[in-house]
Protein backbone atom coordinates (compact mmCIF):
# COMPACT_ATOMS: atom_id res chain seq x y z
CA UNK A 1 0.00 0.00 0.00
CA UNK A 2 1.21 3.48 -0.79
CA UNK A 3 2.45 5.45 2.18
CA UNK A 4 0.71 8.79 2.76
CA UNK A 5 3.34 11.39 3.58
CA UNK A 6 4.07 15.09 3.05
CA UNK A 7 5.58 16.18 -0.25
CA UNK A 8 8.89 17.25 1.32
CA UNK A 9 9.24 13.89 3.09
CA UNK A 10 8.42 12.10 -0.16
CA UNK A 11 11.01 13.97 -2.23
CA UNK A 12 13.64 13.49 0.48
CA UNK A 13 12.95 9.76 0.57
CA UNK A 14 12.49 9.05 -3.15
CA UNK A 15 14.67 11.42 -5.21
CA UNK A 16 18.48 11.33 -4.94
CA UNK A 17 21.17 13.28 -6.80
CA UNK A 18 21.91 11.64 -10.17
CA UNK A 19 18.54 9.86 -10.41
CA UNK A 20 16.49 9.54 -13.58
CA UNK A 21 13.25 11.32 -12.72
CA UNK A 22 10.04 11.68 -14.75
CA UNK A 23 7.50 14.32 -13.71
CA UNK A 24 4.66 13.58 -16.12
CA UNK A 25 1.33 15.22 -16.93
CA UNK A 26 0.41 16.21 -20.48
CA UNK A 27 -0.48 19.91 -20.01
CA UNK A 28 -3.08 18.79 -17.44
CA UNK A 29 -2.07 17.60 -13.93
CA UNK A 30 1.59 18.67 -14.09
CA UNK A 31 3.16 18.10 -10.64
CA UNK A 32 4.57 21.62 -10.11
CA UNK A 33 4.60 21.48 -6.30
CA UNK A 34 6.73 18.33 -6.33
CA UNK A 35 9.11 19.88 -8.87
CA UNK A 36 9.45 22.96 -6.66
CA UNK A 37 10.25 20.72 -3.70
CA UNK A 38 13.04 19.06 -5.74
CA UNK A 39 14.42 22.55 -6.45
CA UNK A 40 14.18 23.56 -2.76
CA UNK A 41 15.98 20.39 -1.68
CA UNK A 42 18.79 21.25 -4.11
CA UNK A 43 18.93 18.03 -6.15
CA UNK A 44 21.68 17.95 -8.79
CA UNK A 45 22.74 15.92 -11.84
CA UNK A 46 19.26 14.60 -12.49
CA UNK A 47 18.27 13.04 -15.79
CA UNK A 48 14.88 14.63 -16.32
CA UNK A 49 12.34 12.77 -18.46
CA UNK A 50 9.14 14.36 -19.78
CA UNK A 51 7.36 14.43 -23.13
CA UNK A 52 6.72 18.18 -22.85
CA UNK A 53 9.23 19.77 -20.46
CA UNK A 54 6.83 22.72 -19.92
CA UNK A 55 7.46 25.45 -17.34
CA UNK A 56 8.31 23.01 -14.54
CA UNK A 57 11.43 21.68 -16.32
CA UNK A 58 12.31 25.18 -17.52
CA UNK A 59 12.44 26.06 -13.81
CA UNK A 60 14.36 22.94 -12.75
CA UNK A 61 16.86 23.33 -15.62
CA UNK A 62 17.32 27.03 -14.87
CA UNK A 63 17.99 26.22 -11.20
CA UNK A 64 20.71 23.74 -12.16
CA UNK A 65 18.97 20.48 -11.13
CA UNK A 66 19.47 18.68 -14.45
CA UNK A 67 22.44 17.19 -16.28
CA UNK A 68 20.40 15.54 -19.02
CA UNK A 69 16.93 15.94 -20.55
CA UNK A 70 14.94 13.23 -22.36
CA UNK A 71 11.98 14.82 -24.14
CA UNK A 72 9.89 15.25 -27.29
CA UNK A 73 8.60 18.86 -27.32
CA UNK A 74 10.19 21.67 -25.32
CA UNK A 75 8.11 24.81 -25.77
CA UNK A 76 5.67 26.97 -23.83
CA UNK A 77 2.42 25.76 -25.44
CA UNK A 78 0.72 28.46 -27.49
CA UNK A 79 3.22 31.06 -26.20
CA UNK A 80 6.71 30.33 -27.56
CA UNK A 81 10.11 29.24 -26.28
CA UNK A 82 11.21 27.80 -22.97
CA UNK A 83 13.97 30.35 -22.40
CA UNK A 84 15.81 28.54 -19.60
CA UNK A 85 15.88 25.30 -21.64
CA UNK A 86 17.20 27.24 -24.64
CA UNK A 87 19.81 29.05 -22.57
CA UNK A 88 21.05 25.70 -21.21
CA UNK A 89 21.30 24.09 -24.67
CA UNK A 90 22.59 27.15 -26.53
CA UNK A 91 24.90 28.61 -23.85
CA UNK A 92 25.36 25.95 -21.16
CA UNK A 93 23.75 28.14 -18.45
CA UNK A 94 23.68 27.51 -15.54
CA UNK A 95 25.22 24.11 -16.43
CA UNK A 96 25.49 22.27 -19.75
CA UNK A 97 22.46 20.15 -20.59
CA UNK A 98 22.74 16.93 -22.60
CA UNK A 99 19.66 16.08 -24.58
CA UNK A 100 18.06 12.87 -25.79
CA UNK A 101 15.32 13.77 -28.21
CA UNK A 102 12.34 11.82 -29.52
CA UNK A 103 8.94 12.37 -31.11
CA UNK A 104 5.78 12.15 -28.97
CA UNK A 105 4.94 8.77 -30.50
CA UNK A 106 8.41 7.51 -29.63
CA UNK A 107 8.33 8.79 -26.04
CA UNK A 108 4.82 7.43 -25.43
CA UNK A 109 5.93 4.02 -26.66
CA UNK A 110 9.09 4.11 -24.54
CA UNK A 111 6.90 4.51 -21.45
CA UNK A 112 4.60 1.71 -22.67
CA UNK A 113 7.64 -0.57 -23.04
CA UNK A 114 8.72 0.36 -19.51
CA UNK A 115 5.26 -0.26 -18.08
CA UNK A 116 4.90 -3.62 -19.81
CA UNK A 117 8.34 -4.81 -18.72
CA UNK A 118 9.68 -5.14 -22.28
CA UNK A 119 13.12 -3.88 -23.36
CA UNK A 120 11.81 -1.87 -26.30
CA UNK A 121 8.73 -0.86 -28.26
CA UNK A 122 8.15 -0.83 -32.02
CA UNK A 123 6.39 1.83 -34.05
CA UNK A 124 6.12 3.26 -37.53
CA UNK A 125 8.07 6.39 -36.84
CA UNK A 126 11.14 8.57 -37.46
CA UNK A 127 11.58 7.31 -41.04
CA UNK A 128 13.42 9.87 -43.18
CA UNK A 129 13.91 12.33 -40.32
CA UNK A 130 17.27 13.46 -38.87
CA UNK A 131 16.33 12.31 -35.34
CA UNK A 132 17.75 8.73 -35.44
CA UNK A 133 21.20 10.08 -36.40
CA UNK A 134 21.38 11.96 -33.08
CA UNK A 135 19.40 9.73 -30.71
CA UNK A 136 20.93 6.40 -29.76
CA UNK A 137 17.69 5.05 -28.27
CA UNK A 138 16.13 4.93 -31.76
CA UNK A 139 17.16 1.85 -33.75
CA UNK A 140 15.58 -0.31 -36.46
CA UNK A 141 14.17 -3.84 -36.28
CA UNK A 142 12.83 -6.16 -38.95
CA UNK A 143 9.41 -7.69 -38.31
CA UNK A 144 9.88 -11.49 -38.11
CA UNK A 145 6.48 -12.03 -39.74
CA UNK A 146 6.34 -9.51 -42.60
CA UNK A 147 9.91 -8.31 -43.07
CA UNK A 148 8.82 -4.69 -42.57
CA UNK A 149 11.52 -2.49 -41.05
CA UNK A 150 10.17 -0.62 -38.01
CA UNK A 151 11.54 1.86 -35.50
CA UNK A 152 12.53 0.39 -32.14
CA UNK A 153 12.76 2.65 -29.11
CA UNK A 154 14.39 1.66 -25.81
CA UNK A 155 12.13 1.26 -22.77
CA UNK A 156 12.08 4.11 -20.26
CA UNK A 157 12.58 2.99 -16.66
CA UNK A 158 12.80 6.07 -14.44
CA UNK A 159 14.17 5.67 -10.92
CA UNK A 160 11.22 7.81 -9.84
CA UNK A 161 8.05 8.99 -11.55
CA UNK A 162 6.03 11.84 -10.04
CA UNK A 163 2.49 12.65 -11.18
CA UNK A 164 -0.37 14.76 -9.84
CA UNK A 165 -3.94 13.43 -9.58
CA UNK A 166 -7.30 14.56 -8.33
CA UNK A 167 -7.81 12.18 -5.40
CA UNK A 168 -6.52 9.27 -3.40
CA UNK A 169 -8.08 7.27 -0.60
CA UNK A 170 -6.34 6.52 2.70
CA UNK A 171 -4.99 3.23 1.36
CA UNK A 172 -3.23 5.12 -1.43
CA UNK A 173 -5.49 4.13 -4.33
CA UNK A 174 -5.19 7.03 -6.77
CA UNK A 175 -8.01 8.34 -8.97
CA UNK A 176 -7.52 10.68 -11.96
CA UNK A 177 -9.63 11.83 -14.88
CA UNK A 178 -9.60 14.23 -17.83
CA UNK A 179 -6.51 14.36 -20.03
CA UNK A 180 -4.38 11.51 -18.70
CA UNK A 181 -1.38 11.69 -21.01
CA UNK A 182 1.16 8.99 -20.21
CA UNK A 183 0.88 9.17 -16.42
CA UNK A 184 -0.29 5.61 -15.84
CA UNK A 185 2.47 4.21 -18.07
CA UNK A 186 5.09 6.50 -16.49
CA UNK A 187 4.16 5.37 -12.94
CA UNK A 188 4.15 1.69 -13.90
CA UNK A 189 7.49 2.06 -15.75
CA UNK A 190 9.27 3.51 -12.71
CA UNK A 191 11.07 1.80 -9.82
CA UNK A 192 9.51 4.23 -7.30
CA UNK A 193 6.63 6.67 -7.58
CA UNK A 194 5.05 9.67 -5.89
CA UNK A 195 1.53 10.87 -6.60
CA UNK A 196 0.57 14.29 -5.28
CA UNK A 197 -3.22 14.74 -5.03
CA UNK A 198 -5.71 17.53 -4.60
CA UNK A 199 -7.27 15.69 -1.67
CA UNK A 200 -7.14 12.47 0.29
CA UNK A 201 -10.66 11.13 0.89
CA UNK A 202 -12.22 8.25 2.82
CA UNK A 203 -13.90 6.71 -0.22
CA UNK A 204 -13.24 7.25 -3.93
CA UNK A 205 -16.46 8.03 -5.75
CA UNK A 206 -16.04 6.63 -9.29
CA UNK A 207 -16.45 8.93 -12.29
CA UNK A 208 -16.90 8.18 -16.01
CA UNK A 209 -13.53 7.80 -17.72
CA UNK A 210 -11.52 7.78 -14.52
CA UNK A 211 -8.35 5.76 -14.07
CA UNK A 212 -7.39 4.09 -10.81
CA UNK A 213 -3.81 3.37 -9.88
CA UNK A 214 -4.12 0.70 -7.16
CA UNK A 215 -2.31 1.61 -3.97
CA UNK A 216 0.09 -1.32 -4.28
CA UNK A 217 1.50 0.18 -7.52
CA UNK A 218 2.36 3.55 -5.95
CA UNK A 219 5.17 4.19 -3.43
CA UNK A 220 4.00 7.46 -1.84
CA UNK A 221 0.97 9.73 -1.94
CA UNK A 222 1.12 13.34 -0.73
CA UNK A 223 -1.81 15.74 -0.41
CA UNK A 224 -0.96 19.07 -2.10
CA UNK A 225 -4.09 21.10 -2.96
CA UNK A 226 -3.33 23.27 -5.98
CA UNK A 227 -0.13 21.28 -6.53
CA UNK A 228 -0.51 21.44 -10.32
CA UNK A 229 -0.69 25.24 -10.58
CA UNK A 230 -0.23 26.90 -13.13
CA UNK A 231 -1.28 23.64 -14.82
CA UNK A 232 -4.62 22.42 -13.52
CA UNK A 233 -6.66 19.56 -12.09
CA UNK A 234 -9.95 19.08 -13.94
CA UNK A 235 -12.82 19.49 -11.50
CA UNK A 236 -10.60 21.45 -9.05
CA UNK A 237 -8.93 24.26 -10.97
CA UNK A 238 -8.49 25.89 -14.39
CA UNK A 239 -5.24 26.21 -16.35
CA UNK A 240 -3.70 29.59 -15.49
CA UNK A 241 -3.08 30.65 -19.08
CA UNK A 242 -2.17 34.17 -17.93
CA UNK A 243 0.72 32.77 -15.93
CA UNK A 244 1.92 30.71 -18.91
CA UNK A 245 1.96 33.96 -20.92
CA UNK A 246 3.70 35.89 -18.11
CA UNK A 247 6.38 33.20 -17.83
CA UNK A 248 7.72 34.32 -21.21
CA UNK A 249 8.93 37.64 -19.78
CA UNK A 250 9.79 36.31 -16.30
CA UNK A 251 12.08 33.64 -17.76
CA UNK A 252 13.61 35.52 -20.71
CA UNK A 253 16.22 37.17 -18.50
CA UNK A 254 18.46 35.24 -16.05
CA UNK A 255 18.17 37.76 -13.19
CA UNK A 256 14.42 38.15 -13.47
CA UNK A 257 14.12 34.34 -13.53
CA UNK A 258 16.29 33.95 -10.43
CA UNK A 259 14.38 36.69 -8.64
CA UNK A 260 11.06 35.00 -9.34
CA UNK A 261 12.37 31.58 -8.27
CA UNK A 262 13.73 33.02 -5.02
CA UNK A 263 10.46 34.67 -4.12
CA UNK A 264 7.93 32.14 -5.39
CA UNK A 265 9.75 28.86 -4.78
CA UNK A 266 12.89 29.00 -2.60
CA UNK A 267 11.37 31.20 0.10
CA UNK A 268 7.92 29.63 -0.06
CA UNK A 269 6.61 26.69 1.95
CA UNK A 270 5.68 23.87 -0.40
CA UNK A 271 2.79 22.74 1.74
CA UNK A 272 1.12 26.14 1.60
CA UNK A 273 0.58 26.77 -2.09
CA UNK A 274 0.61 30.27 -3.48
CA UNK A 275 -1.99 30.66 -6.18
CA UNK A 276 -1.34 34.23 -7.44
Amino acid sequence: MAEIVSVDEAIAALVADGDTVALEGFTHLIPFAAGHEIIRQGRRDLTLVRMTPDLIYDQMIGMGCARRLIFSWGGNPGVGSLHRFRDAVENGWPVPLEIEEHSHAGMANRYVAGATGLPFAVLRGYVGTDLPAHTDTIRWVTCPFTGEVLAAVAALRPDVTVVHAQRADRRGNVQMWGILGVQKEAVLAAKRSLVTVEEVVDTLERRPGDVILPGFSVTCVAEVPGGAHPSYALGYSLRDNDFYRRWDSISRDRDSFLGWMREAVLESDGRRRTTS
Binding site: F26, T52, G75, P77, S81, V89, T129, G181, V182, S237
Partner: protein, 266 residues
Protein backbone atom coordinates in the same frame (compact mmCIF):
# COMPACT_ATOMS: atom_id res chain seq x y z
CA UNK B 1 -34.67 45.24 -56.36
CA UNK B 2 -31.37 47.04 -56.89
CA UNK B 3 -28.27 45.33 -55.57
CA UNK B 4 -26.76 47.46 -52.84
CA UNK B 5 -23.05 47.97 -53.47
CA UNK B 6 -21.14 47.26 -50.31
CA UNK B 7 -17.44 47.64 -49.65
CA UNK B 8 -15.97 44.32 -48.49
CA UNK B 9 -14.69 44.17 -44.93
CA UNK B 10 -10.89 44.81 -44.83
CA UNK B 11 -8.83 41.86 -43.52
CA UNK B 12 -5.30 41.04 -42.37
CA UNK B 13 -2.94 38.68 -44.25
CA UNK B 14 -2.99 36.27 -41.28
CA UNK B 15 -6.78 36.20 -41.39
CA UNK B 16 -6.74 35.34 -45.09
CA UNK B 17 -4.22 32.57 -44.39
CA UNK B 18 -6.38 31.08 -41.63
CA UNK B 19 -9.55 31.28 -43.75
CA UNK B 20 -7.79 29.65 -46.74
CA UNK B 21 -6.62 26.83 -44.45
CA UNK B 22 -10.12 26.32 -43.02
CA UNK B 23 -11.49 25.98 -46.56
CA UNK B 24 -9.18 23.00 -47.12
CA UNK B 25 -11.20 20.99 -44.61
CA UNK B 26 -14.32 19.33 -45.96
CA UNK B 27 -17.22 18.36 -43.74
CA UNK B 28 -16.66 14.96 -42.14
CA UNK B 29 -12.86 15.14 -42.39
CA UNK B 30 -10.94 13.55 -39.52
CA UNK B 31 -8.25 16.09 -38.71
CA UNK B 32 -5.20 15.95 -36.42
CA UNK B 33 -4.78 19.51 -35.16
CA UNK B 34 -1.70 21.28 -33.85
CA UNK B 35 -1.95 24.29 -31.55
CA UNK B 36 -1.85 27.89 -32.83
CA UNK B 37 -3.03 28.79 -36.33
CA UNK B 38 -3.95 25.17 -37.25
CA UNK B 39 -6.28 24.97 -34.23
CA UNK B 40 -7.86 28.32 -35.12
CA UNK B 41 -8.37 27.28 -38.76
CA UNK B 42 -9.81 23.87 -37.87
CA UNK B 43 -12.32 25.35 -35.43
CA UNK B 44 -13.26 28.02 -37.97
CA UNK B 45 -14.07 25.23 -40.44
CA UNK B 46 -16.10 23.39 -37.76
CA UNK B 47 -18.21 26.44 -36.96
CA UNK B 48 -18.73 27.57 -40.58
CA UNK B 49 -18.88 25.01 -43.39
CA UNK B 50 -17.81 21.73 -41.75
CA UNK B 51 -19.93 20.99 -38.65
CA UNK B 52 -19.23 17.26 -38.94
CA UNK B 53 -15.44 17.59 -38.88
CA UNK B 54 -13.69 15.43 -36.25
CA UNK B 55 -10.88 17.31 -34.51
CA UNK B 56 -8.19 15.27 -32.78
CA UNK B 57 -5.63 16.87 -30.46
CA UNK B 58 -2.48 14.98 -29.49
CA UNK B 59 -3.31 15.36 -25.79
CA UNK B 60 -5.86 12.57 -26.43
CA UNK B 61 -8.97 14.56 -27.34
CA UNK B 62 -11.11 13.01 -30.10
CA UNK B 63 -14.02 14.98 -31.54
CA UNK B 64 -13.22 18.26 -29.79
CA UNK B 65 -15.85 21.04 -29.79
CA UNK B 66 -14.24 23.77 -27.70
CA UNK B 67 -16.51 26.71 -26.84
CA UNK B 68 -13.46 29.01 -26.75
CA UNK B 69 -10.07 28.46 -28.38
CA UNK B 70 -7.49 26.69 -26.21
CA UNK B 71 -4.05 28.23 -25.55
CA UNK B 72 -2.45 24.79 -25.18
CA UNK B 73 -3.36 21.38 -26.60
CA UNK B 74 -4.50 20.38 -23.13
CA UNK B 75 -6.80 23.17 -21.91
CA UNK B 76 -9.87 21.90 -20.04
CA UNK B 77 -12.14 23.50 -22.64
CA UNK B 78 -11.09 20.74 -25.05
CA UNK B 79 -12.37 18.02 -22.73
CA UNK B 80 -15.85 19.50 -22.38
CA UNK B 81 -18.12 18.25 -25.17
CA UNK B 82 -15.47 16.01 -26.76
CA UNK B 83 -16.53 12.61 -28.12
CA UNK B 84 -13.72 10.82 -26.27
CA UNK B 85 -10.64 11.47 -24.17
CA UNK B 86 -7.93 8.83 -24.53
CA UNK B 87 -4.33 8.41 -23.37
CA UNK B 88 -1.39 9.71 -25.39
CA UNK B 89 -0.11 6.22 -26.31
CA UNK B 90 -3.62 5.44 -27.58
CA UNK B 91 -3.91 8.57 -29.72
CA UNK B 92 -0.65 7.77 -31.52
CA UNK B 93 -0.84 3.95 -31.59
CA UNK B 94 -4.54 3.27 -32.21
CA UNK B 95 -5.63 6.37 -34.14
CA UNK B 96 -2.70 7.90 -36.01
CA UNK B 97 -0.44 4.92 -36.75
CA UNK B 98 -2.94 2.69 -38.64
CA UNK B 99 -3.90 5.57 -40.96
CA UNK B 100 -7.29 6.55 -39.50
CA UNK B 101 -6.64 10.32 -39.87
CA UNK B 102 -7.48 12.16 -43.10
CA UNK B 103 -5.64 15.44 -42.63
CA UNK B 104 -2.74 16.49 -40.45
CA UNK B 105 -2.38 20.21 -39.88
CA UNK B 106 1.24 21.26 -39.24
CA UNK B 107 3.46 24.29 -39.00
CA UNK B 108 7.23 24.78 -38.77
CA UNK B 109 10.08 27.23 -38.30
CA UNK B 110 11.49 26.22 -41.70
CA UNK B 111 9.83 24.68 -44.76
CA UNK B 112 11.92 23.67 -47.75
CA UNK B 113 11.50 23.22 -51.48
CA UNK B 114 10.21 19.66 -50.98
CA UNK B 115 7.90 20.44 -48.08
CA UNK B 116 10.14 19.05 -45.35
CA UNK B 117 9.65 20.77 -41.98
CA UNK B 118 12.13 21.79 -39.30
CA UNK B 119 11.05 22.46 -35.71
CA UNK B 120 14.29 21.27 -34.07
CA UNK B 121 17.41 23.45 -34.52
CA UNK B 122 18.60 26.33 -36.73
CA UNK B 123 22.25 27.06 -37.45
CA UNK B 124 25.38 25.65 -35.81
CA UNK B 125 25.35 21.89 -35.36
CA UNK B 126 22.78 19.74 -33.59
CA UNK B 127 24.65 19.69 -30.25
CA UNK B 128 25.53 23.40 -30.45
CA UNK B 129 22.73 25.10 -32.36
CA UNK B 130 22.36 28.79 -32.93
CA UNK B 131 18.66 28.50 -32.14
CA UNK B 132 17.15 25.63 -30.22
CA UNK B 133 13.48 25.16 -31.26
CA UNK B 134 10.91 23.14 -29.29
CA UNK B 135 11.45 19.91 -31.22
CA UNK B 136 9.32 17.25 -32.87
CA UNK B 137 6.22 16.73 -30.75
CA UNK B 138 3.74 14.72 -32.77
CA UNK B 139 4.83 16.11 -36.13
CA UNK B 140 7.13 13.39 -37.59
CA UNK B 141 4.45 10.71 -37.37
CA UNK B 142 1.60 13.08 -38.33
CA UNK B 143 3.59 14.01 -41.47
CA UNK B 144 4.30 10.36 -42.22
CA UNK B 145 0.92 8.76 -41.52
CA UNK B 146 -1.99 11.14 -42.20
CA UNK B 147 -3.58 10.68 -45.63
CA UNK B 148 -2.82 14.33 -46.39
CA UNK B 149 -0.89 17.12 -44.71
CA UNK B 150 -1.77 20.80 -44.78
CA UNK B 151 1.06 23.12 -43.73
CA UNK B 152 0.21 26.56 -42.41
CA UNK B 153 3.10 29.00 -42.09
CA UNK B 154 4.01 32.64 -42.76
CA UNK B 155 6.15 33.08 -45.87
CA UNK B 156 9.54 34.77 -45.41
CA UNK B 157 13.02 33.96 -46.78
CA UNK B 158 14.08 32.78 -43.29
CA UNK B 159 11.22 30.28 -43.22
CA UNK B 160 11.09 29.22 -46.89
CA UNK B 161 14.56 27.77 -47.36
CA UNK B 162 16.05 25.66 -50.11
CA UNK B 163 16.92 22.87 -47.63
CA UNK B 164 15.86 22.71 -43.96
CA UNK B 165 18.70 22.73 -41.40
CA UNK B 166 17.16 19.64 -39.76
CA UNK B 167 14.49 17.28 -41.10
CA UNK B 168 12.03 16.99 -38.20
CA UNK B 169 9.12 15.91 -40.44
CA UNK B 170 9.37 14.54 -43.95
CA UNK B 171 7.50 16.18 -46.81
CA UNK B 172 8.77 14.83 -50.12
CA UNK B 173 12.39 14.23 -49.03
CA UNK B 174 14.72 15.41 -51.78
CA UNK B 175 12.86 14.25 -54.90
CA UNK B 176 9.59 12.89 -56.23
CA UNK B 177 9.20 9.24 -55.23
CA UNK B 178 11.14 9.57 -51.96
CA UNK B 179 8.04 8.99 -49.84
CA UNK B 180 7.42 5.69 -51.59
CA UNK B 181 11.07 4.66 -51.23
CA UNK B 182 10.92 5.47 -47.50
CA UNK B 183 7.69 3.49 -47.13
CA UNK B 184 5.66 6.41 -45.75
CA UNK B 185 1.99 5.46 -45.96
CA UNK B 186 0.51 8.99 -45.93
CA UNK B 187 0.33 11.22 -48.98
CA UNK B 188 2.50 14.10 -47.76
CA UNK B 189 1.88 17.85 -47.92
CA UNK B 190 -1.02 18.52 -50.26
CA UNK B 191 -0.75 22.28 -49.83
CA UNK B 192 1.31 24.85 -47.94
CA UNK B 193 -0.79 27.89 -47.07
CA UNK B 194 0.95 31.16 -46.27
CA UNK B 195 0.09 34.80 -45.70
CA UNK B 196 0.86 35.43 -49.42
CA UNK B 197 -0.84 32.52 -51.14
CA UNK B 198 -0.49 28.77 -51.37
CA UNK B 199 2.02 26.30 -52.75
CA UNK B 200 1.49 22.71 -53.85
CA UNK B 201 3.89 19.98 -54.96
CA UNK B 202 4.52 19.84 -58.69
CA UNK B 203 3.02 16.53 -59.90
CA UNK B 204 6.28 15.52 -61.62
CA UNK B 205 9.05 16.91 -59.43
CA UNK B 206 7.30 17.23 -56.02
CA UNK B 207 8.83 20.72 -55.71
CA UNK B 208 6.59 23.27 -54.00
CA UNK B 209 5.12 25.56 -56.65
CA UNK B 210 3.00 28.68 -56.29
CA UNK B 211 -0.60 27.72 -57.11
CA UNK B 212 -2.60 30.63 -55.68
CA UNK B 213 -2.27 34.17 -54.42
CA UNK B 214 -4.34 35.88 -51.78
CA UNK B 215 -6.16 39.01 -52.99
CA UNK B 216 -3.64 41.86 -53.18
CA UNK B 217 -0.52 39.63 -53.16
CA UNK B 218 1.83 39.37 -56.15
CA UNK B 219 4.08 36.72 -57.68
CA UNK B 220 7.07 39.02 -57.08
CA UNK B 221 6.21 39.19 -53.39
CA UNK B 222 6.00 35.39 -53.21
CA UNK B 223 9.34 34.99 -55.04
CA UNK B 224 11.05 37.53 -52.75
CA UNK B 225 9.84 35.56 -49.71
CA UNK B 226 11.11 32.21 -50.99
CA UNK B 227 14.66 30.88 -50.65
CA UNK B 228 14.66 28.91 -53.91
CA UNK B 229 13.74 29.88 -57.49
CA UNK B 230 9.98 29.63 -57.04
CA UNK B 231 8.08 28.12 -59.97
CA UNK B 232 4.58 29.40 -60.68
CA UNK B 233 1.76 27.12 -61.78
CA UNK B 234 0.30 27.89 -65.22
CA UNK B 235 -3.11 27.68 -63.52
CA UNK B 236 -2.30 30.29 -60.84
CA UNK B 237 -5.55 31.39 -59.24
CA UNK B 238 -6.57 34.10 -56.79
CA UNK B 239 -8.13 32.96 -53.51
CA UNK B 240 -11.60 34.29 -52.72
CA UNK B 241 -11.41 36.94 -49.99
CA UNK B 242 -12.85 35.97 -46.59
CA UNK B 243 -16.64 36.21 -46.43
CA UNK B 244 -18.20 38.43 -43.78
CA UNK B 245 -19.28 35.34 -41.88
CA UNK B 246 -15.80 33.75 -42.02
CA UNK B 247 -14.24 36.97 -40.74
CA UNK B 248 -16.82 37.46 -38.00
CA UNK B 249 -16.42 33.89 -36.69
CA UNK B 250 -12.62 34.04 -36.97
CA UNK B 251 -12.43 37.30 -34.99
CA UNK B 252 -14.79 36.02 -32.33
CA UNK B 253 -12.71 32.83 -32.00
CA UNK B 254 -9.37 34.62 -31.91
CA UNK B 255 -10.58 36.89 -29.12
CA UNK B 256 -11.21 33.82 -26.94
CA UNK B 257 -7.79 32.13 -27.17
CA UNK B 258 -6.83 30.89 -23.73
CA UNK B 259 -10.17 31.89 -22.20
CA UNK B 260 -10.53 34.42 -19.43
CA UNK B 261 -8.16 35.12 -16.54
CA UNK B 262 -8.23 32.13 -14.25
CA UNK B 263 -6.94 31.35 -10.79
CA UNK B 264 -5.49 27.90 -10.34
CA UNK B 265 -5.40 25.84 -7.21
CA UNK B 266 -8.36 27.29 -5.42
Amino acid sequence: MAVVERRPEPFEADEMMTVAAARQLRDGTVCFVGIGLPSTAANLARITHAPGIVLIYESGIIGARPATLPLSIGDGVLVEGADAVVSVPEVFNYWLQPGRIDVGFLTGAQVDRFGNLNTTVIGGDYRHPLVRLPGAGGAPEIAALCRQVVVLVRQTPRVFVNRVDFVTSVGYGSAAGDRGRLGLSGGGPKVVITDIGSLAPDPDTAELTLVSLHPGSTVEQARAATGWPLQVSPDLRVEEPPSDRELAVLRRLTATIGGVRTHGGE
